[in-house]
C-alpha cells in the first residue's frame, strides 16, 4: 500500500497540510506519513504531526533535493504540500512546492492557506476541470476512479473554447444536455454532471475552484511553468480555497538531475 506523504515545514501551513493528508489517507485507504527536512528546530513540525496523529520522519539534507527524493520514493502514492504561507502571498506556491510540482512523477496536492476547511466530510465532492483532450482526461482518470470508489461525487467543469466548443447546437435546450452527456462520456465518464462555462479558461476555472462547494480540485497539467503555459494551474493555485490535486500528464515531466546532491538521511 502506498502512503500519502505530507511535506511540512515549520511555517503555519503545516497543520492544514497534515489535515488534508490525513483526510486523503483515510478516504483512499492509505497510510499517512509526514516528512520534515531539518533546517533548525524541529519542534513545531513534531508538535503538528503529533497533533494530527501522523508519524513524522525528519530528514537531513538540502531541502529541495531531499524532499524530491522523498516524494519519488516508490512507496509514496501522493504528496501533499502547502501552497504558501499567506493567502496574499506574491506567488501561487512556494519554491519547494513548485519544484515538487514541476519534477515529481506523481500526483501532488497543494493545500492553499487556510484551505483545509471541512475537508472530506461526506458527501465528498470533487471538481475536475477538463480541457477536452483525451491525454489530459486520461491523466486524471485513475484518481477519479479512486474517488468514485469511495463514493465521492465527481463534478466535471469545462470552459468552452473555440477548439472545444460544440460545433452546432440546433436548440441548446435540447442539444446541450446531449452534447454534455457525450462530453462526459468521452472525457469523464464518472462525472455526475458537468458545469459548462464561457470566458477565459484560467479565470473561469479559478472562479469555480474558489466558489464551488467542493472538497478537492483535480487537474492534469504538463508540469511546464514557462511563460505561456499552465495559466489555469497558476490561476487555480492563486485563488482556490480548496486543496488542488495536480496530476502530471505522462511524458511531459521535466527531468531534474539529483545526482549532485548528497543522499538524504532518515532518522
Amino acid at each position: 500500500m502506498t502512503t500519502v506523504l505530507a511535506a511540512i515545514d515549520a511555517g503555519p501551513t503545516g497543520p492544514a497540510v497534515l489535515h488534508v493528508a490525513a483526510g486523503l489517507a483515510e478516504l483512499t485507504g492509505r497510510a499517512a506519513l509526514a516528512v520534515h527536512v531539518r533546517e533548525g528546530d524541529t519542534g513545531a513540525a513534531e508538535a503538528a504531526a503529533t497533533a494530527a496523529g501522523i508519524p513524522l520522519r525528519v530528514l537531513d539534507g538540502p531541502v529541495e533535493a531531499t524532499l524530491l527524493r522523498a516524494v519519488d520514493d516508490p512507496t509514496v502514492g501522493l504528496a501533499v504540500f502547502g501552497a504558501r504561507a499567506v493567502p496574499e502571498g506574491a506567488r501561487p506556491v512556494g519554491h519547494v512546492a513548485l519544484l515538487a510540482l514541476e519534477h515529481a512523477a506523481k500526483a501532488v496536492v497543494i493545500v492553499p492557506p487556510n484551505g483545509a476547511g471541512t475537508f472530506f466530510e461526506p458527501p465528498v465532492r470533487v471538481l475536475v476541470p477538463l480541457e477536452a483532450t483525451t491525454e489530459s482526461s486520461e491523466a486524471v482518470q485513475s484518481w477519479i476512479n479512486v474517488f468514485c470508489g469511495v463514493g465521492a461525487e465527481i463534478v466535471a467543469l469545462h470552459v468552452v473554447t473555440p477548439r472545444s466548443a460544440p460545433r452546432m447546437l440546433d436548440h441548446p435546450e435540447w442539444d446541450l444536455p446531449q452534447w454534455s452527456d457525450e462530453f462526459i462520456e468521452h472525457f469523464c465518464p464518472a462525472a455526475a454532471r458537468i458545469d459548462l462555462r464561457t470566458g477565459e479558461p484560467h479565470r473561469r476555472v479559478a472562479e469555480a475552484s474558489r466558489d464551488e462547494p467542493v472538497d478537492l480540485v483535480v487537474l492534469s497539467w504538463s508540469q511546464d511553468t514557462s511563460a505561456g503555459h499552465a495559466a489555469v494551474v497558476r490561476a487555480v493555485l492563486s485563488r482556490s480555497t480548496t486543496p488542488v490535486l495536480l496530476v502530471p500528464v505522462d511524458g511531459r515531466r521535466q527531468v531534474l538531475d539529483l545526482t549532485a546532491d548528497r543522499p538524504a538521511t532518515v532518522r
Binding site: 452546432m168 440546433d170 444536455p177
Partner: protein
C-alpha cells in the same frame, strides 16, 4: 469463392453440349432453389419450347425461372403453363443478346437483387457484362462443380443460413467501431420503414429499451416524448467483435465477426410495415440460442410492451427458431409490432400478426423487403460521377429520408426521425421546410402523410389562434400527438441550470412554413386537388392568422413585432425579414387560392393589402435585407473573428454576448432566397449571401446545406461543395457530437435540397420544372431520380449537357428559355458555358 455466399439470382448457360444441360440433378436443384425465392435465369440459344421442356416448371416457387434467348432477343418466364414472353428486343440484332440480358438485370434490380447477389455460371460473357459486379464462375466449369455450387446454395437455404448482401462500397455504410462512438453507430445504422425503426443496437445489449420507435407514438407526459419500444433483436452473444454495415440499397443491417465466427442480418420490412426479421449464425461458443445455452427448436412467442398509461403504446411479439448445424448455431426470428398513439394495443394483435408470418417465412419476407426498397430507390436515385464519397454520403442521407415517414395515414416527422430520442420526436419546422420538399419529389405519398399530420391538427392550431386573441390557425413550434404546443417551457441543463425556452412564443414563422410546405408539395406532385379541397385550410387559415397578427403602424406600414427568425441567437425582435416575407407570401398565396376557389372577397382583398404593406427590411440602395429592425446597429462581429465555423456561438460566447452582436446561427434572410426566391428582388442573393455568410457561425445543423444550395445558385458551386460535404457527413463524422441521440434528418433533407435546388437548379412550378445546373468542377455529373407530376424522371447533368429520362411527359424550362415539353423517353439539352454568369433568383 462461392461456397460461403448466398446468391439471390443464378444466371447459367443451357446449351448442348454444355456440361450442365438437361441433367435431372441440375434441374431438380434449380427447381428447389426457385422454391426458396431464388431467381434463376437460363441463357440459351435453343428454342424456348425445347428448353422449357427440359426445365421443370416451378410450382410454388417464390422465385422465378426466366429463359433468356440472346440470339433472338427474347426473355420468357417459365411457369407451369410453359414459357411466356416477358420481353422482346425491339431491335433486329443485338450482339450477344446484350439487350435481353440487360432487361433481366434491370428486372432483378427492381427486386433489389444486384451485384454480388448474382452468380453467373458458364460461358456467358454478355451476362457478365450485364450484371455489374456479379460473381462469375469460369466457363470451364463442369457439371460436378456447378452441381456443387447449387448444393451449397440449397444447403444454406435448407438450414436457414444468414443471407448475403450486395457488399457494394457505393451503397454500404460501415458503422463506427470505436467504443465511444457506439451511440453514433446505433443511430447511423438505424433500419426502418417509415412506420417504425430500430437503432443498430448490438444483439447482446441488455438495456436496449427505447431503441425501437414508432412514428407518432408519444408518451402522455406534459412534454411528450416518443415511446421507446424494446430491443426486439436481442440475442445472447458473447465475445464477438462488432463489424457492422448498413446496406443502403436494401435497408438491412449486417454484422460480421471472424473470430469467433458470427453473422447477423436484420430488417424491418418495407413491404409489410409491421414485420421484423432477424437471422443469426455463429459458433456455439459465441452465439447462444434462446432458452438455454445449447437449446434448439422453437421458442414460444415473446411479447414485450412499452408505453401506455395515458399515452401511446407499443407491443412487439417475436418467435424464434433455433437449430444447430455442426459446430454452428442458427437463430431465425420473425417478429411483429403494433402500436397506438392512445393506449397500448392488446397482445392479441401482435400474436395474430405473428401467426400470419408463419406461412411467409424469412426468405419471402427478405425478397419482398428487397423489392420494396428497390422500388423506393427507383424514385430517388442519386449518382455523383467523379466523387464516390459524396455519392455515398448523399445516398446515406436519402436512405434515411426514405425511411423517415410512412406513405399512408399521417406522418409525425421529428428532427431526428426515428433514429433516436432527441427532441422527444417533436415536430418542428424541420419537417415542413427541410424534409417534406425532398419527400414530395422522391416519395410523394410520404410527403402527403406529413401534410396529413398538419391537417389533422388544424383544430388545435385554430384553438391556439383563438386562445391568443387571434384568428385562423397558429401552428405550434413543437407538436406531438394532439397538435398543442409541447415546447418545454424550461429545460434543465446538465449543470443543473434552468433555461427558459421562448421559441414557442416567438418563432411564429412556422405558421407560414406549413403553408409553404403544402404549396411545395403540390408543385412537385401536381396534386392541385389537395389545395382546392382538404388542404386549402393550411393556406387560408394560416393567412388568417397573419392578418390578425399584423400591426399596422401610424405610417401605414404593416409590422410583425416580438418574433424570432430562424436565427435563434436573437430571440425577440421586430420585423424579422424572414418572418415578414414568409407572411407576405402566405397572404398572397392565400388570396390567389381564394381566387381559384371562387371565394375571393373582402377577406382576400385585405390579405393582399396587408401583404403589400408589410415591411421586409430590404434596402434597394444596398441590395441588402436587414435581418430585423435594429440588426445593423448591433456589434458588427464576424464569425471568423471568433472561431472557424461551424461553432455554437451561444455556447462559446454566452447568449447575452451573441444577442448583442450580428452573429447568426443559420440562414435567416437567406432562407427567403432558398424557399421563395420569387419574393426577393433579382440580384439580391449575391449581396446578401456575402454579407450574411460572413456573420453565420453555422451553429445549426440546418445551415450548411442551405448555404451550399445558395452558393450553387449564385454561380459558385465550388464554394458550395465544402458546405455540402459538411452537411452530408454531419452524422457520419458526428460533427455535432450529438449523433448518438439521433441523426439530423432535416440536414439530410437539406442535403437533398442542395443537390436538387442547388446544384441541379431544380425549381418545380405549376407550369414547368425549371432547371439550371451548376456543378462543382470536381464532379463529372450529377443524376437524380424523382417524381414530377405524373412522371418518374431521371435528370442527369454534366458540365455540357442535360439529360432527361421520363416515363410521362415533363415540361422543362432552362434559364432564359421557354417551357419545353419533353415526351417519354426524354430529351437531351446542350448547356451554356458553365462559367458564364447566370441570372440569379
Amino acid at each position: 469463392m462461392t461456397a460461403d455466399r448466398t446468391f439471390e439470382a443464378l444466371c447459367c448457360r443451357w446449351n448442348p453440349p454444355d456440361a450442365c444441360s438437361g441433367a435431372p440433378e441440375i434441374r431438380d436443384r434449380i427447381e428447389e432453389l426457385c422454391t426458396f425465392g431464388v431467381h434463376v435465369v437460363v441463357v440459351s440459344d435453343l428454342d424456348p419450347a425445347m428448353v422449357a421442356g427440359q426445365l421443370l416448371p416451378h410450382s410454388e416457387g417464390r422465385g422465378s425461372l426466366h429463359l433468356c434467348l440472346p440470339r433472338v432477343g427474347q426473355v420468357h418466364e417459365v411457369t407451369s403453363s410453359g414459357p411466356s414472353l416477358r420481353w422482346r428486343d425491339g431491335c433486329d440484332h443485338r450482339p450477344e443478346g446484350y439487350g435481353a440480358l440487360r432487361w433481366i438485370a434491370g428486372w432483378l434490380a427492381e427486386r433489389g437483387i444486384t451485384g454480388s447477389l448474382v452468380l453467373v455460371v458458364g460461358d456467358v460473357p454478355a451476362a457478365s457484362a450485364a450484371f455489374d459486379r456479379a460473381v462469375v464462375v469460369d466457363t470451364a466449369v463442369e457439371r460436378p462443380r456447378f452441381q456443387q455450387i447449387l448444393d451449397e446454395q440449397l444447403d444454406r437455404r435448407r438450414s436457414g443460413r444468414v443471407p448475403s448482401v450486395d457488399a457494394d462500397p457505393a451503397w454500404s455504410i460501415p458503422l463506427p467501431i470505436e467504443r465511444l462512438a457506439e451511440g453514433a453507430a446505433e443511430a447511423i445504422g438505424t433500419i426502418g420503414n417509415g412506420w417504425a425503426a430500430s437503432r443498430a443496437v448490438l444483439e447482446e445489449r441488455v438495456d436496449g429499451s427505447g431503441t425501437f420507435l414508432v412514428n407518432g407514438v408519444f408518451t402522455g407526459d406534459a412534454v411528450p416524448t416518443l415511446v421507446g419500444g424494446s430491443n426486439w433483436s436481442s440475442i445472447a452473444v458473447r465475445d464477438a467483435s462488432t463489424t457492422r454495415s448498413l446496406d443502403l440499397r436494401t435497408g438491412v443491417l449486417v454484422r460480421e465477426s471472424a473470430d469467433p465466427p458470427l453473422r447477423t442480418f436484420k430488417l424491418i420490412s418495407a413491404h409489410r410495415p409491421h414485420v421484423l426479421a432477424l437471422r443469426a449464425e455463429g459458433s456455439s461458443n459465441c452465439l447462444l440460442v434462446p432458452g438455454d445455452d445449447g437449446a434448439t427448436g422453437e421458442r414460444d412467442a415473446q411479447v414485450t410492451s412499452s408505453g401506455g398509461r395515458g399515452g401511446g403504446g407499443i407491443v412487439i411479439a417475436t418467435a424464434d427458431r433455433a437449430q444447430a448445424v455442426g459446430d454452428d448455431r442458427l437463430v431465425e426470428r420473425l417478429g411483429a409490432w403494433a402500436a397506438s398513439p392512445r393506449g397500448r394495443p392488446s397482445d392479441d394483435v401482435v400474436q395474430s400478426l405473428l401467426a400470419d408470418l408463419e406461412g411467409a417465412g424469412f426468405d419471402r419476407i427478405l425478397a419482398e423487403h428487397r423489392a420494396a426498397w428497390a422500388e423506393r430507390w427507383s424514385n430517388a436515385a442519386i449518382s455523383i460521377t467523379g466523387s464516390p464519397e459524396d455519392e455515398l454520403s448523399a445516398r446515406f442521407a436519402v436512405f434515411h429520408l426514405l425511411a423517415s415517414a410512412p406513405d399512408a395515414g399521417e406522418a409525425a416527422v421529428g428532427p431526428r426521425g426515428l433514429t433516436g430520442p432527441a427532441y422527444g420526436g417533436h415536430v418542428f419546422w424541420d419537417a415542413d421546410v427541410f424534409v417534406l420538399p425532398a419527400l414530395a419529389a422522391i416519395r410523394p405519398s410520404a410527403a402527403r402523410a406529413m401534410l396529413e399530420y398538419r391537417l389533422r391538427r388544424l383544430p388545435a392550431a385554430r384553438a391556439a389562434a383563438l386562445a391568443s386573441g387571434g384568428r385562423g390557425a397558429r401552428f405550434p413550434w413543437e407538436s406531438a400527438t394532439d397538435g398543442t404546443d409541447v415546447t418545454p417551457p424550461i429545460v434543465t441543463l446538465s449543470s443543473g441550470e434552468d433555461v427558459l425556452v421562448r421559441t414557442d412564443e416567438h418563432e411564429e414563422h412556422i405558421v407560414a412554413d406549413v403553408a409553404w410546405a403544402a404549396d411545395e408539395y403540390t408543385r412537385w406532385t401536381g396534386d392541385t386537388a389537395f389545395l382546392t379541397t382538404a388542404g386549402c385550410d393550411l393556406v387560408l387559415d394560416t393567412a388568417r392568422w397573419w392578418a390578425g397578427r399584423i400591426r399596422v403602424g401610424a405610417d401605414g406600414r404593416a409590422h410583425l413585432d416580438h418574433v424570432m427568425g430562424p436565427d435563434e441567437y436573437h430571440d425577440e425582435v421586430d420585423d424579422n425579414a424572414f418572418t415578414n416575407v414568409m407572411a407576405r407570401w402566405n397572404l398572397r398565396r392565400a388570396a390567389a387560392l381564394a381566387d381559384e376557389l371562387g371565394i375571393a372577397g373582402d377577406e382576400s382583398s385585405e390579405w393582399r393589402l396587408l401583404a403589400d404593406r408589410l415591411v421586409d427590411g430590404f434596402d434597394p440602395a444596398t441590395g441588402l435585407y436587414e435581418q430585423f429592425a435594429g440588426y445593423w446597429d448591433l456589434e458588427p462581429l464576424l464569425a471568423a473573428q471568433v472561431a472557424e465555423p461551424p461553432f455554437a456561438a451561444d455556447a462559446l460566447l454566452g447568449t447575452d454576448r451573441v444577442d448583442r452582436s450580428q452573429l447568426i446561427k443559420q440562414p435567416d434572410v437567406l432562407m427567403l432566397h432558398h424557399m421563395i426566391p420569387s419574393e426577393t428582388p433579382p440580384g439580391s442573393l449575391e449581396w446578401n449571401l456575402d454579407v450574411y455568410t460572413a456573420r453565420t457561425t453555422h451553429g445549426s445543423s440546418l445551415s450548411p446545406a442551405i448555404h451550399a444550395a445558395l452558393y450553387a445558385r449564385a454561380g459558385r458551386p465550388d464554394d458550395a461543395l465544402p458546405l455540402f460535404r459538411m452537411a452530408a457527413r454531419l452524422d457520419l463524422d458526428d460533427i455535432t457530437g450529438t449523433t448518438a441521440s439521433g441523426l439530423h434528418l432535416a440536414t439530410m433533407g437539406g442535403v437533398w435540397q442542395a443537390l436538387a435546388y442547388g446544384f441541379l437548379g431544380l425549381r418545380p412550378t405549376s407550369r414547368a420544372l425549371e432547371i439550371d445546373p451548376r456543378l462543382p468542377r470536381s464532379w463529372d455529373a450529377l443524376e437524380l431520380g424523382l417524381r414530377y407530376g405524373q412522371a418518374r424522371a431521371r435528370i442527369r447533368a454534366d458540365h455540357e449537357r442535360l439529360h432527361l429520362k421520363c416515363d410521362a411527359p415533363v415540361t422543362l424550362r432552362l434559364p432564359g428559355g421557354l417551357p419545353h415539353a419533353c415526351p417519354p423517353p426524354g430529351a437531351t439539352f446542350e448547356l451554356d458555358d458553365p462559367d458564364a454568369p447566370r441570372r440569379s433568383p
